[in-house]
Symmetry: C2
């Protein structure tokens, strides 16, 4: 944009929005220059913090008029750079639209503005014995609007689903300034189902201005089993058998030997450090349900070769067994100056195989890696350890991460489990999707945002970028592992 036009745009913005709804001062904008993927930083042209939908619509009209790109931001806790500002664009923070509009304990629903924090929903619902199930690890800070944009998950999404499974309705403002009501209480809404399309669309299709979520009754009891295994394959096999047996655990987490050894100095000897893998398997529900589930879970874990089993007998013991898992990220931070948390997914039965791959890649790139998995739904979080100050190490780490994702795709999985694509994994999208699939994404994007002003350069790569990077589409194409069943 020519400097004069920029000035005119900023002038119009200043003239028409209250002073608390805009930030143009460079120093005050610093806090918005990245999200939780802090390796990427960019100052926007201006930050707008609308107090309501009217101010949002007004800002979008100005942006359309001057063709200024817009990036939406929730609480800025995203891990893939989805809320990274665009140079010369507006960063639109929805943090001031943070009112809980309605809580209906009988219908078990809550209607919220996008800036309401995830945990605040459960806090407000607690007096009614209810809670909001999706629990991303950032739940103290992250906002429901951001959760919808990224389709956030959490440790318990195996049983209770992702954000999309806990939504009833959305109110959405498009870049063109249209207001859409999506979803509702009908079991199967008429028309095209735009609610799941918008959910997880990473800010590419519209702005979420209202969210109606389903609340669940708080399970009266939860107990966890810690199971140690002599080999990773046996642990992976046990996970597959747990699911195949028809049990739906509240959570199934897996840590590899390196993770167990890393957390032990922090939390004490909770887990056997000689085990190749440790599982945490949780059951929740009524006392009778939990007792029945725990018994069946123990049987499966034993049959599949668990070398040690501990079951929590109190809430204190349960939290104690979880303490090591929760310490995995701080522990990684002690092992090296920096760590990079990757996020990919694989079919459950490939858990052992992907760990072998990661081990081989770790040797190839000369960088250590510890592994924490949401094993129940095949979502892995390899933590690559590196030193950002050592020349070339960050680039090597990124390359290592990209290779892990390619291995995930080759094994029938995906380049993200729950963190989204953002800027971080945009090149890996070329590996995941065919030209036809990427084209269909672009066509949909254009239907919602014909000028292409909304979060440009994120989540969906341009086709020519895939060609330039020479990335190989392997899903449904030629597989590096020809012996595997095809999905």
């Amino acid at each position: 944009m020519p400097a004069l036009t920029t000035d005119l745009f900023l002038h119009d913005l200043a003239a028409s929005l209250p002073v608390d709804a805009r930030v143009v001062d460079r120093e005050r904008m610093r806090v918005f220059e990245c999200d939780a993927l802090s390796a990427y930083q960019q100052l926007p042209l201006a930050v707008v913090l609308p107090a309501d939908e009217a101010q949002l619509l007004h800002t979008l009209a100005l942006c359309r008029q001057y063709r200024v790109p817009v990036v939406a931001r929730g609480a800025g806790t995203g891990l893939s750079g989805g809320a990274l500002p665009v140079a010369g664009g507006v960063l639109l923070s929805l943090s001031r639209m943070n009112r809980l509009l309605e809580l209906d304990p009988l219908a078990r629903t809550a209607r919220l503005q996008p800036g309401v924090r995830n945990l605040a929903i459960s806090e407000a619902a607690a007096p009614h014995g209810l809670y909001y199930a999706p629990d991303p690890s950032s739940q103290i800070a992250c906002s429901i609007g951001g959760n919808v944009a990224e389709n956030a998950g959490g440790v318990h999404c195996l049983k209770y689903g992702l954000t999309v499974h806990n939504l009833l309705a959305l109110r959405v403002v498009t870049m063109e300034g249209e207001v859409l009501s999506l979803g509702g209480t009908a079991p199967d809404a008429p028309g095209l189902d735009l609610l799941p399309l918008l959910t997880g669309s990473e800010g590419l299709l519209g702005f979420i201005t209202e969210v109606t979520v389903r609340l669940l009754p708080k399970p009266p009891l939860a107990r966890v089993i810690m199971a140690a295994f002599p080999t990773v394959d046996r642990a992976a096999d046990a996970v597959a058998q747990l699911i195949a047996s028809g049990l739906i655990p509240a959570a199934v987490e897996m840590m590899d030997r390196a993770t167990v050894q890393a957390v032990t100095p922090l939390v004490g000897p909770i887990y056997p450090t000689d085990a190749a893998a440790v599982l945490l398997v949780e059951a929740d529900g009524s006392e009778a349900e939990v007792a029945g589930d725990i018994e069946r879970m123990q049987r499966v874990l034993q049959e599949r070769g668990a070398s040690q089993l501990t079951v929590s007998d109190s809430e204190a013991e349960r939290l104690q067994l979880w303490a090591g898992r929760k310490a995995a990220f701080p522990a990684a931070a002690r092992l090296a100056p920096d760590y990079y948390c990757m996020d990919g997914s694989i079919p459950r039965q490939q858990l052992g195989r992907i760990l072998q791959e990661i081990e081989a890649l770790s040797a190839e790139f000369g960088l250590p890696c510890i592994n924490v998995f949401h094993a129940g739904d095949g979502n892995l979080h390899p933590l690559i350890l590196f030193d950002a100050n050592a020349p070339g190490q960050f680039e090597r780490t990124e390359a290592f991460g990209a290779r892990i994702l390619e291995a995930c795709v080759a094994l029938g999985g995906a380049i993200t489990g729950e963190h989204g694509v953002g800027v971080e994994k945009i090149q890996s999208m070329c590996v995941q999707f065919s030209r036809a699939e990427l084209s269909s994404f672009h066509q949909l994007k254009q239907a919602f945002d014909p000028q292409g002003l909304l979060n440009p350069g994120k989540a969906i790569p341009e086709l020519h970028r895939c060609a330039e990077h020479g990335r190989l589409h392997v899903h449904g194409g030629q597989l590096p592992f020809p012996d595997l069943p095809r999905f």
Copy 2:
């Protein structure tokens, strides 16, 4: 299309497809001239029955070349005319692509061609103790491809979800001839989530050529409670309390007095004929779970004023209690020469209110109506009784039905619960959606089908048609019931 072009198209079709893949004889095409909404009938130009994806792609290429519209058809059991042929178009039946491609009992998934019958999936899974949960009442005949196109539900979708909640992946061919792989095993797939967009899109966006479904372990036990209530309001209140209490019944069905009285001559005195409403509430799971649920359900039903309660003590008793509900449609057929099964949805707490509305409309139109509800998810099936041979009665029935749907929307519900829009409810879409929402549907449709050849005239009305019919958009607009909470 000029006659000469039609001849050329038919010539090319005949020259390039095997004889068993095409029907052009008028008499042999009769069976395809309607789906289960038999009030609408139309002969197509030709019927194509591809044996595989290659024949499908070839047919689509010819249709694009000659600009011939195409309508997809599964088993033809749809109730809203979604598979009604278009004059001068191709009716494309996927019934010959009916192979079960893969059944993985460990991963609990099945990969199917679109023509596989719904019930055949559960039959194939039964030896592994597994089944496919969605159970539309046409499940003996309907196909999984049609289930996906309509996002089919069933009596048990309250607990187990609609088709979309039981899908893992789709393979889709667009009208443009592109092949897309949607979904997968990742908890949150990257890219825009096209799987739920395609599901329930009523044949407007593409052809489903492969479906991967989730299988569930067959619950070892099911028991049902029959509860009679002296007023509809009390029954409705009991349903709301059941759900609010955190119970997730396998099914909650409701019959009004007229339905109970209609079925009694067919199945005997199963239900008290003096009750204003009868509920069937089912629990399934392990013996301990079912015992606990049944006890809690009974307590809620009693607290909410049930005048009579019967609990099944054996599978024979359970089937006996269901027999009356299953006989509702045959019973309606005995009460009048014809009946019209409507399908709408409302928030659960409005069950009493909608029944009052339907009663008033029944008087206004001079047509009797009996009511069967999937009460747990607020999905109603009013059966309007009429005589198609009496002049004007079918038109009056359609007008009555449209008014019921408008009342559903005004009460915060929707014009369809599970049957789809098709041709049947296309005008009611003008009541459900705003201009902006309908526009967004058209833009999406165009992104997938730029020539507009796929199932034209169905499911999404042209904006000018809404204007012509003078229908009022009430959802989010002006409500006939100003005292109601707004959704």
